[in-house]
């Protein structure tokens, strides 16, 4: 294994990790503020990809299609929050899990009805094709660098939003004690809609950017959702910092294990080991800490 290959895989891991962060931070924010576990989060990822595809077919321009897809996904999220999520805030975890699972079933089927069951390949925007030499002898695709950069910028903006703005202060307050925030005369419903739309936009952003790398197909968000849940379990539910650390751990661990395990062990079971690596990581974390690495304070 050459140094160039290792660096390339590290970059891939970083890129995958940042995509997982965009997903996991939504799950953790919605849980942290609204105490809702949202299994439909993967659908928002999938919808992002589909909307990009549809908008591209319509406008023939990435510069127009990306914002359009982004706005459309946010609108879907707002409608979803008002109709389905709102009644769930006062329900137990069982109701939340079942209702959002029902939504996932609905969305997976709805995109099948509209766009068919076959997976649809998306091409990388023409101005982002090609690769650059990151270290001597190691060419790396520009597109992957760009989406990693966008994800990092999105993460920084989210950090600034939460720590530096009035809305962020409300979000922080809401996660500490929503009753008092509501009692202070803050429109908590509006805040919830905002947080849900924010988390949906991050998921859609991940879906839009991953569209050309994976392909757009029904159920495309499901495996990503489950990995995002693994990230949240590892990082500690409700913690944004935990989501970042967990996502980078899972992204890099997953990518490297796909390269390294086959080099070390060459048996029939290799592919099994590769697929399971991330879950073994989660099991190990759970052995040491029941609530994840950055567990929220309890009691």
């Amino acid at each position: 294994m050459t140094l160039a290959l290792l660096v390339e895989q590290l970059f891939n891991g970083l890129q995958f990790g940042m995509m997982l962060f965009l997903m996991a931070v939504g799950v953790t924010l919605v849980f942290g503020i609204m105490r809702v576990i949202n299994l439909a989060h993967g659908s928002l990822f999938m919808i992002g990809g589909y909307f990009l595809m549809a908008a591209l077919a319509w406008t023939q321009s990435y510069a127009l299609a990306v914002p359009l897809a982004f706005i459309a996904a946010a609108l879907v999220a707002v409608v979803l929050e008002i109709i389905v999520l709102r009644p769930l805030y006062r329900r137990g975890p069982l109701d939340q899990v079942l209702a959002t699972f029902g939504l996932t079933l609905f969305f997976n089927e709805a995109v099948t009805v509209i766009w068919g069951r076959e997976s649809i390949p998306l091409s990388i925007p023409p101005f982002l094709t090609g690769s650059v030499e990151i270290i001597p002898g190691g060419a790396y695709p520009i597109y992957r660098l760009v989406i990693t950069g966008v994800a990092i910028v999105a993460g920084l903006l989210l950090y600034l939003l939460i720590t530096r703005t009035r809305v962020g202060a409300l979000i922080r307050a809401g996660s500490d004690n929503r009753e008092i925030v509501a009692a202070l005369g803050i429109n908590i419903n509006l805040l919830y809609t905002l947080v849900f739309a924010l988390s949906a936009m991050l998921a859609a952003l991940a879906g839009i950017m991953m569209g050309p790398l994976l392909s757009v197909e029904p159920g495309a968000g499901d495996p990503i959702l489950i990995l995002a849940l693994v990230v949240v379990v590892i990082g500690g539910i409700g913690s944004v910092r935990g989501a970042l650390v967990g996502a980078l751990m899972v992204g890099i661990f997953d990518t490297l294990s796909r390269v390294l395990i086959p080099l070390v062990i060459q048996t029939n079971a290799t592919s099994a080991l590769v697929g399971m690596a991330v879950y073994v990581l989660m099991a190990v974390v759970l052995l040491f800490s029941r609530t994840g690495l950055f567990a929220a304070h309890r009691g």
């Binding site: 975890p93 899990v97 922080r172």
Partner: protein
């Protein structure tokens, strides 16, 4: 008959219908009823965890699938006797349940849901990577198991064996939840701390239920491998885990009979709608949302009320007050 009470009569009527109707309707309906009994058994195992122990598992399909793979593989290797293959399948599923349960039961509430889902996905990927067993496509099972000299190839014979096993599982589960052990697990469901304070540490009790439920799911899986003569990773998918939960809720949790009715409803819904559209999920998803948001009871609950067959005991609270209170404690994490 007076001794039976209305509830007993209702159960008896359901059982009589299950025995008489499917073979009378013909092969298609017999096979359909077999499917209901198998999924009903799997859903019942979910209810033992959900309705009686307060554990929301989103990974029961993994244990169902492990049972199916075990029975299917044994048959391919020439172990055709059901009295050997099925107990082995149950054992393998229980071992998987022990491994998954011992780790995931360290967590609670929301985390438990996510961890069971994640471990089930791990088993799913494992099954998918078994290239010698068809990988993603799965493999066909050459024949059904047999009970020594009794062949199960006939659909009606097989249906009655499955039905008998389902009745046995319901009876055993009833014995378990009515026993002292059952009182303890219900106590843990209602208030974990109080149960611990009076000397019943929750972890080992929950683990035992998890393993028992895993065994039941494994038996259902083994029966499914026999019914369909086909095993694939789809039988371990997270959708199936969710559908099993949905069956329990549609039918009424905390009732043992409800999950079976829920399975019947789910499969009938799919069967009827499939005649009109391949996109039946488009309707099932919203139906599930509506059930959760608008209805307070499942089918069994409604049936019992309609026939005036309520039992004189306090209804179980299934909104998990203890678990949600636990999870709803101040949690400043999101801000950091």
């Amino acid at each position: 008959m007076a001794m039976l009470g209305r509830r007993g009569l209702l159960l008896l009527a359901l059982l009589a219908a299950a025995i008489l109707l499917p073979p009378w309707f013909g092969t298609y309906h017999t096979r359909f009823a077999t499917q209901i009994a198998i999924y009903g058994m799997a859903a019942l195992s979910v209810d033992l965890l959900l309705g009686y122990t307060g554990l929301i598992t989103f990974g029961q399909a993994a244990l169902f699938g492990v049972g199916a793979y075990a029975a299917g593989m044994l048959t391919v290797y020439g172990v055709t006797n059901a009295l050997v293959a099925w107990p082995l399948a149950i054992l393998v599923s229980m071992l998987f349940a022990l491994a998954i349960g011992s780790l995931s039961l360290r967590t609670r509430g929301f985390q438990f849901i996510m961890v069971t889902l994640a471990f089930a996905q791990m088993v799913y990927y494992f099954a998918q990577s078994l290239r010698n067993w068809g990988g993603d496509d799965g493999f066909t099972v050459p024949q059904r198991n047999d009970l020594g000299f009794i062949s199960l190839a006939d659909h009606t014979t097989f249906y009655y064996v499955v039905l008998a096993l389902l009745v046995l599982v319901v009876w055993l589960s009833q014995r378990i939840v009515r026993s002292e052990f059952g009182m303890v697990i219900r106590g843990i469901r209602d208030n974990e701390r109080r149960a611990a304070a009076v000397g019943f540490p929750p972890y080992p009790y929950k683990l035992v239920v998890f393993v028992i439920a895993g065994g039941i799911a494994g038996l259902a899986g083994a029966l499914m491998a026999n019914h369909a003569k086909f095993v694939s990773p789809a039988g371990l998918s997270w959708q199936l885990s969710g559908e099993l939960l949905a069956m329990v809720i549609l039918g009424s949790a905390n009732s043992l009979i409800g999950p079976i009715l829920g399975a019947a409803f789910f499969l009938a819904f799919r069967d009827v709608l499939s005649d009109y559209t391949e996109h039946w999920m488009l309707f099932f998803g919203p139906l599930l949302v509506a059930r959760v948001l608008l209805m307070k009871e499942g089918i069994w609950g409604l049936l019992v009320r309609a026939t005036g067959a309520e039992e004189k005991r306090a209804p179980a609270k299934l909104d998990f007050p203890a678990a949600s209170a636990e999870a709803a404690q101040p949690n400043p994490g999101a801000s950091r």
